[in-house]
C-alpha cells in the first residue's frame, strides 16, 4: 500500500486527470481532494492503531471505559471531523456556482448517441461537432442537454461534471486558466458507443477567440 501511494503521488498527470487542474473550479476541487486524502489517511491510521492496541496492548485499552470508547469514538470524533469538513465543502460548492454576475459566456452543448454538438450564440450561432472552443481566463456557462438518453458533460481538468438529460437544460460553470488543448468525455453510460463518446477542447487566447470562431477553418465546424 505504501508503494501504491508513492505511485499515486508520482503519476497524477494525464489528459483527463482531475489531479492536474487547469481551471479554477478543478483547482478548488483538487485542493479539497488533498485535504480529504490527508484527513482520511490520518483517520484510517487512528482506527487501525486503536484496533492494534486492543489486541496488543489491552492494558492501555482497558483504561478507557466502554461508554467513553463509544462516546469519544462514535460521537465526538465524527463531530469534530465532519463539521468543519461539511462547512468547507459547502463553501467550496458555493464558489463553483454559475452566478449571473461575472458576465459568463454562454455555450450550448447538445449530446446524442454518441456525439457532442456545441453551439456558440455569441459567435452568431456557429456550431461545431466533437470539438469545443473556449476562451482562456473567462467564466463560461455550458448549457447542457441531450436529444436522446442521459449523457454527462465532463472536462476533468477544468471542472466537475453535469448530466445531459433530455427535457432539461443544466448549467455548468467552467473556466480555463491558459490556452491549450484538453479532453472532454461523456461520463454517463449511454449505450454501446459510450466508451468512444469524447470531445476535444481547444482553449484560445481570450483576444483571439471571436476571430477564431468566425474563421472558416474552425476545427469541427458544422456547415449550416
Amino acid at each position: 500500500m505504501v508503494a501504491a501511494s508513492a505511485a499515486m503521488l508520482g503519476g497524477c498527470a494525464g489528459p483527463l486527470s482531475t489531479l492536474d487542474p487547469a481551471g479554477p473550479a478543478a483547482s478548488s476541487i483538487a485542493t479539497l481532494w488533498w485535504v480529504l486524502l490527508t484527513g482520511a489517511a490520518l483517520l484510517f491510521l487512528l482506527v487501525m492503531v486503536l484496533f492494534g492496541i486492543t489486541l496488543l496492548r489491552p492494558q492501555w485499552a482497558r483504561k478507557v471505559s466502554p461508554a467513553r470508547w463509544i462516546v469519544l469514538g462514535g460521537l465526538v470524533l465524527p463531530a469534530i471531523v465532519l463539521t468543519p469538513l461539511v462547512v468547507f465543502a459547502l463553501v467550496t460548492g458555493e464558489r463553483l456556482l454559475p452566478r449571473p454576475a461575472g458576465n459568463p459566456l454562454r455555450i450550448e452543448a447538445e449530446a446524442r448517441q454518441w456525439h457532442w454538438t456545441f453551439t456558440y450564440p455569441a459567435g452568431g450561432g456557429v456550431a461545431t461537432e466533437g470539438v469545443l472552443h473556449l476562451p482562456a481566463g473567462r467564466p463560461i456557462d455550458i448549457v447542457v442537454t441531450s436529444l436522446d438518453v442521459i449523457h454527462a458533460f465532463w472536462i476533468p481538468r477544468l471542472a466537475g461534471k453535469i448530466d445531459a438529460i433530455p427535457g432539461h437544460a443544466n448549467r455548468l460553470r467552467i473556466e480555463a486558466d491558459r490556452p491549450g488543448t484538453y479532453e472532454g468525455l461523456c461520463n454517463e453510460f449511454c449505450g454501446k458507443g459510450h466508451s468512444g463518446m469524447r470531445f476535444d477542447v481547444i482553449v484560445h487566447p481570450q483576444t483571439d477567440y471571436d476571430a477564431a470562431l468566425a474563421a472558416p477553418d474552425l476545427a469541427g465546424r458544422i456547415a449550416r
Binding site: T83, V86, V87, L90, E94, L97, P98, R99
Partner: protein, 121 residues
C-alpha cells in the same frame, strides 16, 4: 400437573406493544422536515419567490419540526411518569429518548447550513 394459569409471574405490568410506536416520531419528523425543506425550496424556485422568502420558509419549517421533536420529548417524559418501570420499560424509554435526541441533532445539522446558501442555483 398444577392448575393451568394463563399469565406469567407477577411483576411490573408489561410495556404495552403500542408503546413501540414511540420509536417512530423522532425520525419520522426528521424525514418530514427533510421533505418539507426540499419541496419548499423547489416550489419557491419554480414560482419565483425571493431568496429571503425561501430562506425564511426553510427556517420556519426547521423550527416547527425541531419544536415538534422537543414536544415528543416532553410527551415521552410524561408517558413514563407514574409507570412501574421495569427493565424493559427503562430500556425502551432510553432508546426512545435516544432516537429523539439523534433526530433533533440530525434535523438541525442537516438543514441549518442551507439557511446560508444561495437559492435555486
Amino acid at each position: 400437573m398444577s392448575a393451568p394459569v394463563t399469565r406469567g409471574t407477577a411483576g411490573p405490568p408489561p410495556v404495552s406493544a403500542g408503546d413501540l410506536w414511540w420509536l417512530v416520531p423522532g425520525f419520522a419528523l426528521w424525514f418530514s422536515a427533510l421533505s418539507a425543506v426540499y419541496a419548499l425550496h423547489h416550489i419557491g424556485c419554480t414560482f419565483g419567490w425571493s431568496s429571503g422568502a425561501i430562506h425564511l420558509g426553510l427556517a420556519l419549517a426547521l423550527v416547527a419540526h425541531l419544536a415538534a421533536i422537543a414536544l415528543f420529548w416532553h410527551f415521552e417524559m410524561r408517558r413514563v411518569r407514574g409507570h412501574a418501570h421495569g427493565e424493559t420499560g427503562r430500556f425502551l424509554h432510553w432508546v426512545i429518548l435516544g432516537t429523539l435526541l439523534a433526530a433533533f441533532v440530525k434535523t438541525l445539522l442537516t438543514i441549518v447550513p442551507a439557511l446560508f446558501l444561495t437559492v435555486c442555483l
